[in-house]
Symmetry: C2
Subunit: 564 residues, 2 copies
């Protein structure tokens, strides 16, 4: 391709409303343009990258024996009513009605439609297992779309759905998909990690997310420095500290802490490490009960773990100021577990403290030298907190480190959640109607593109992994307008490379070398061939790989060979 036929729309300025680097670079490189909030045009340069990512996904899904089909964007409300999600799904579901006032939605996902297909087309266990997939445009009406295509409303997704007679078959296909996803992200040249994940609203029992590691990632991932263990921090189990609780050495005392309401305040005021304090959070239990959750001062509540505890209402809701005062006699900044009469759950780590500090359940007062089993009853313990770096790995091997990741894939063992609701059955070997088991497997194809940039960029621009670079080689002639020799050599080289099937961008614009190189670095072409008069005299051109400072001279007639 020639830049004279393939106009680059690069921008020098960083667009003001782009917060993260992938969004900035996709705009600057001329890959995307915003049409409306969370709705983007993919310009030719961006679409080349998207299509390459899509191509790798398709090849690997085909190799895994999945069958591609295509379901519509517009889905009838009836199916969503049948699964119950028409009412459960919030305003993220873009609802619409046609000219006859029939209700539809713009599909954010396709569990209902594929289950409807399966119940019509699949009759016998002999047709199982089967795994259908599509690469298709979806819409989720995010309340605050942001970060460009990273969290867009309209996006391109690969979604797959498998159907099974039994759990063993589901587990087998799930494993195939796990390996397929690993291969896909490997082939895309991304540094990624599969992690155990919460199944959330999609439902089901077993689930893994695939994260591209990047500092800007919205998710925190805990992984063992020794074993294969990796999990979303949402899910990673925090083990009780080893060694048990020390014996008390202090007497309990009430101290005045005027105006000191946060852990930070109190720690500084009393000269005590936050890890020697506890914080007490009151949350809504079932049937109007208020429940206290107690954590070490330096730990964070994990709401997903808390929601799963018996007696606690989901989604997790914190008690109001009035409810706090009614239950404890104090404001939120001065409460603690001593003397509380409501049900109290204590995180394992907080339960192992001795001589700790907590609120006194009296405004502007705290207690010091508090000890479980002496100043208050032995605690009812639970895993309430997010793991932190240095925690022991839940599999008993090594300690945990925390990295940030961008979720680009998610696989689920759904079980019968949708097949039951839609009565999707087959006849088993005994001729008995059996509800099929399902798995589902998603990849955010457009998000993969943004995630690849978050992981691979520098100040000059994007550093594409070669498999998804918009072009593989940039052919940069110097001063082609003035030098007939350069023009001839570059045109011939371009023709030869095209004929050899090399994915090359020939920058035939009449612009300064600096501008040309800046563009090629911004759009992130992995290889660069520079054709200039001086080297041509010796039959050579300059070659640079990636952002390497070092140029290599290679003979003109070896260029094709090098990339073929």
């Amino acid at each position: 391709m020639r830049t004279s036929r393939f106009p680059l729309s690069t921008l020098k300025e960083v667009p003001a409303d782009a917060e993260i680097v992938s969004h900035q670079l996709m705009l600057r490189a001329g890959m995307i343009r915003k049409l409306a909030a969370g709705v983007y045009n993919w310009l030719p340069l961006g679409l080349r990258v998207l299509r390459k990512a899509e191509g790798v996904v398709r090849e690997e899904m085909d190799r895994a024996g999945a069958l591609e089909l295509l379901m519509p964007a517009v889905q009838p409300a009836e199916l969503w009513q049948e699964s119950g999600r028409w009412d459960q799904y919030g305003p993220e579901l873009l609802r619409l009605h046609d000219r006859h006032q029939r209700e539809f939605c713009f599909g954010p996902t396709h569990e209902e439609v594929i289950t409807d297909i399966a119940r019509r087309e699949l009759r016998s266990y002999k047709q199982l297992p089967v795994n259908f997939y599509q690469i298709q445009t979806k819409f989720r009406d995010e309340i605050r779309p942001r970060f460009g295509v990273m969290r867009a409303r309209e996006f391109l997704m690969k979604d797959a759905y498998s159907f099974h007679l039994d759990a063993a078959s589901l587990a087998e296909t799930y494993q195939v998909m796990f390996e397929t996803y690993s291969r896909i992200f490997q082939r895309l040249g991304l540094d990624f990690r599969p992690v155990q994940a919460d199944t959330g609203s999609i439902g089901g029992a077993v689930s893994h997310e695939f994260h591209v590691l990047a500092e800007s990632g919205e998710d925190a991932i805990a992984f063992s420095d020794t074993s294969d263990y990796a999990a979303n921090v949402e899910l990673a189990e925090a083990l009780p500290p080893a060694g048990g609780r020390p014996a008390p050495t202090q007497a309990m005392q009430t101290v005045d802490t005027p105006g000191q309401h946060t852990i930070e305040d109190v720690s500084r005021f009393l000269g005590v490490e936050p890890a020697r304090t506890v914080k007490t959070l009151l949350v809504q239990g079932e049937a109007d009960e208020v429940i206290a959750l107690v954590l070490r001062g330096d730990h964070e509540l994990n709401t997903i773990k808390a929601e799963k505890l018996p007696g606690i209402a989901a989604p997790l809701t914190f008690a109001s100021d009035e409810a706090i005062r009614a239950a404890t006699g104090a404001g939120a900044g001065s409460i603690g577990p001593v003397g509380l009469t409501i049900r109290t759950l204590v995180d394992h780590a907080a339960a192992q403290l001795a001589d700790f500090v907590c609120g006194a359940n009296a405004d502007d007062q705290h207690l010091t030298g508090v000890n479980w089993g002496r100043d208050l009853p032995e605690p009812e313990t639970a895993d309430l907190r997010n793991v932190v770096a240095g925690d022991p790995s839940p599999d008993g091997k090594g300690t945990l480190a925390i990295v940030r990741g961008i979720e680009v894939g998610h696989i689920f063992q759904l079980g019968t959640k949708y097949s039951q609701a839609l009565n999707a059955t087959v006849l088993d070997e005994a001729g008995k109607e059996t509800v099929m088991l399902m798995g589902c497997y998603g990849i955010g194809v457009s998000r993969v593109v943004a995630a690849a940039i978050e992981q691979n960029h520098d100040e000059a621009g994007i550093l594409w992994p070669e498999p998804i670079a918009p072009f593989r080689v940039a052919l940069c002639p110097m001063n082609m307008k003035k030098s007939e020799a350069v023009r001839e050599a570059a045109e011939k080289l371009y023709l030869d490379m095209c004929n050899a099937g090399i994915d090359v961008l020939f920058d035939d614009r009449d612009i300064r070398a600096g501008v040309m190189f800046a563009d090629m670095e911004l759009i992130g072409i992995p290889h660069r061939i520079i054709v200039g008069d001086r080297n041509l005299e010796n039959g050579m051109v300059e070659y640079k790989a990636g952002r390497s400072r070092d140029a290599e001279l290679i003979p003109v007639d070896e260029v094709v060979e090098r990339f073929a």
Copy 2:
């Protein structure tokens, strides 16, 4: 691919609600399934065909230098308000609003969005001409979606839009697209014809449709038996008959025609050919005027031609019964041009009649032996009728024949209709802001699939043109379960064919030969290899091309070579 891994969903029965053969066969072959009215799932078999058609379209658009991009399905109302189409477009435009109550539509076409991109990205005449295209899902909320994917609401379209500094450049790209479309439909193996067309509501001056010829087509196409002339009957000019008007031979007489109100009635009653009668139609003119249109009794009014005549209101509206009686003194079945005081336009053919029959403007009376210039004034003539087979070709070469066609492509020279409304300008060579000219070029990719079937089928099923067949070769083993020799030979042949890159469907189901052949004929695989014990003994397999009755024996080890 193996049928054990690629389940066929063929049906024996013709689905009751499928009216046309392509719809019936797409359902029976398991290519598509209805999700809602005019909204279809593409099952794996159907999607293979759709993707092959899409691939040919993409290759040829790329070859023509067009640049692929991808615009969203969801489009903001503001752009459509800017072009004026938010109000002009009827209920076919699927309007919706997001959670913030902002108005959008599900794009039925993308003129507004591409013009918005062009006005932002294109600044200089140096960037022109440029031709952008996408292959993307669209939605038109048809009042009566029918015929499967032939007239669906959600459909896959290739739409391209070119931008130009001047009319010469537009004409040049238009010609390139004309040739590209011809190549696309040739490569798809379709019998098609490009025809001059009306530009309709899209606007612009020059336009061609590409029709796949098929008896079930909704459009009538007139073409010359001698020259290249071809046009939609909507547009084809009807020349005045050669030879001039004969001299009168009869006196005008009033005859009673009780209860005879149609041309058929009157012709039979009076024993006169319909071609010797005229019919008079009263239509709405501008400013409440009523205008009479007079045609030969055997000719049909062409409403599109009539709408374009000065003084006639568009869309064409017929006068009410009251208005007819007020203007003529008679009911619709007894009116005629003699003595009429309203403006009267006479079709060229009717104006050449002598001694003709018409209504007398008195109920249940007609006139015979009527002659222009004697019994009523010389007529004001116009081209008002549809051409019919046998008419002279408008280009003066040969006579016209009429065939039926399915519109699968449409190209337009739009001019400045959208670029003017959205103020899409570039700087010309003199540095002056200039509104760009536009062309637009569409192919209904999903409709192409249905049209291909309408043109290529027999009682047994689909007869795919090879470039879009879901598989190229069917490998049919006979009695594989019982014969180890057949199994071994078939499995080896399958492996060898796959390794040679041959697109083969291996029917490894344990079913009777008749059922297997019926399925392969229904889904329309062009080539068939039959592996059976008897021939294997001689190292041979049977080969059948298409629906040929004649089988050819070929050596097993020459099969790969034959298809590679």
